[in-house]
Amino acid sequence: MTAPGNVRGAAATPSAEKPVVGRSTQVFAHLGLILFSALATLPTLLIIMNSFKDRLSIFSHPFALPTPSTFTLDGYHTVATSANFALFFLNSLTVTVGSLLLIVLTSSMAAFALSEYRFRLNTLTGLYLSIGIMVPIRLGTVGILNLMVDLHLVNTLWALILVYTAQGIPLAVFVLTSFMRGVPRDLKEAARIDGASEYRIYGLILPLIRPALGAVTAISMIPIWNDLWFPLILAPGEKTKTVVLGASAFLGQFVNDYNAVLAALTLAIVPVVILYVVFSRQLVSGITGGALK
């Protein structure tokens, strides 16, 4: 286990120090990295770029940038008039933010109890919660659907929020517990002597582990935003569709309208990429610091 500070520093600035290898190896390494970076990004750029071109030049010159004579927003127009993308975005946002809030709140509370108190079922509870890190929640789909039918939650966003919260809790508790163990004892003891209640102490700890909370948020966010399985099964209704499900349905319907398909793909790609760039630091430290132990 590594101390929280160490993880952050290490993951954020591996390139700050002197290169490990000699000059010629460095040149080869750069070449390799440039090649793979191009491979990783070009397909996405190709989609975004062509979404702004008229149909003729999409087919005749797929690799050309849009010029004033080939520029068009036709595809976006089709998307705006035939699919309810604004609503789908709102649904995805509600589900993602709702689940993340619940994950962070419930997991930080549980992690606080597991790291702070010695009680009889401590280890067992920790083990019980960590089963979910390895066993995919998808295998319980049949049971989840029956449960949501019984609770009358099918085709509501609550069904998705609950499932993603349950899915996110195991890893979040695991990561947060190890971070909370790193918080100095003196601080909590001082607060106790001042007569602070246990709930107050939990409230005092939270701001101290903010980087860990950020990391947990970032790693939990991607699978929730990107999921297709549960929206397809639990909330396929027109009013509860998420972006991914909405895009999937739209793409299936407009297969041959390249302008519309490329525009829909772009609309689904760009927000996530922006989020990723904003959160990429937390994301990297979350994956590298959390999933590894």
């Binding site: 591996p14 190896t25 750069h30 797929p62 549980a110 990107n226 590894l292």
Partner: protein, 310 residues
């Protein structure tokens, strides 16, 4: 034995219960209970007109013993093994290579890392459609890339041919997910103490030597974890194949894996009605495969690693 006097001094720690309850409750009700109830459902059945009842392992017998179910099941298992092998042979070694290159602390490493991880944050569905367009002979992206290289013969409808559909989908998945092993390997690599590199530099060791003698031995535990994550992820995959090839995992079930088979068995498709009991049984088989894999890892690899450490 209880000591009443003591109990008065130390009241029941309600705050621990309050702290643990929300997480444990949501997790138990929405994850553990449904998985168990799915397994329970897989042991039950229903004849039209009569109530649901316990049938023991009859559903599993049907799954493994009748042509209608066994043939697709084994096809899906086989495809899933191929899918997994492709990730182990391409995704993880290349991910390791990229992590090692990033660990050399070159100028611009952070930018490379961000770019290389971008496909991983995008939705599988979106990636699937993007590649479906790119590989579509109607668009011609492939042709205009291959013809200048005199590789026109490679311009084939890769997703539409039974022999190449599954490997193509596997490679798309590799392309998207390579960021995960890369980051996990990188995390292990940046923890290697500076002194070791210092010593290697003094000895005049090159990149390959540093990798062989310092980096590889020190990140072996991560290799194990990455393999397990790949295994669980692959045997649970669904989204990519569903969004590219549909629920029928075409052409002619050539790309059918356990996830798509599970979906079809439970919800049904054009030719076959959905069956919750058989669906639950397929999930049961998937759970069994995943647990077996995890257990094998724990008793073989993990144990050997701890022995080495001791």
């Amino acid at each position: 034995m209880t000591y009443p006097a003591r109990r008065v001094r130390r009241p029941f720690p309600w705050h621990i219960v309050v702290f643990l309850a929300p997480a444990v409750l949501i997790y138990t009700v929405v994850m553990i209970y449904p998985i168990l109830s799915s397994l329970w459902l897989s042991l039950r059945g229903q004849v039209p007109g009569s109530p649901e009842h316990f049938v023991g392992l009859a559903n599993y017998q049907r799954l493994l013993g009748t042509e209608l179910y066994a043939q697709p099941l084994w096809n899906a298992v086989r495809n899933n093994v191929v899918f997994f092998a492709l990730h182990m042979l391409v995704q993880n070694p290349v991910g390791l290579l990229l992590a090692v290159l990033l660990s050399f602390r070159l100028r611009g490493s952070a930018l490379y890392r961000t770019l290389l991880f971008t496909p991983t944050v995008l939705s599988v569905v979106i990636i699937g459609f993007a590649w479906k367009l790119i590989l579509n002979p109607a668009w011609g992206v492939q042709r205009s890339l291959l013809e200048p290289l005199h590789l026109g013969a490679l311009d084939q409808p890769w997703l539409g041919l039974p022999g190449s559909a599954l490997p193509t989908l596997g490679l798309i998945s590799v392309w998207q997910n390579i960021g995960i092993p890369m980051l996990l390997f990188l995390a292990a690599l940046v923890r290697i103490p500076e002194e070791l590199y210092e010593a290697a530099r003094l000895d005049g060791a090159g990149g390959w030597r540093i990798f062989r003698s310092i980096q590889l031995p020190l990140i072996l535990p991560t290799v194990g974890i990455v393999s397990v994550l790949t295994f669980v992820g692959n045997f649970n995959a669904f989204d990519l194949i569903y969004s590219v090839q549909g629920a029928l995992a075409g052409p002619n079930f050539a790309s059918d894996i356990l996830g798509t088979l599970f979906y079809r068995t439970f919800f049904g498709y054009q030719l076959q009605a959905g069956d919750p009991y058989m669906g639950a049984a397929v999930a049961g088989v998937m759970l069994l495969i995943i647990l077996t894999g995890l257990l094998l890892y724990l008793v073989t690899v993990q144990r050997r690693l701890t022995e080495v450490e001791l």
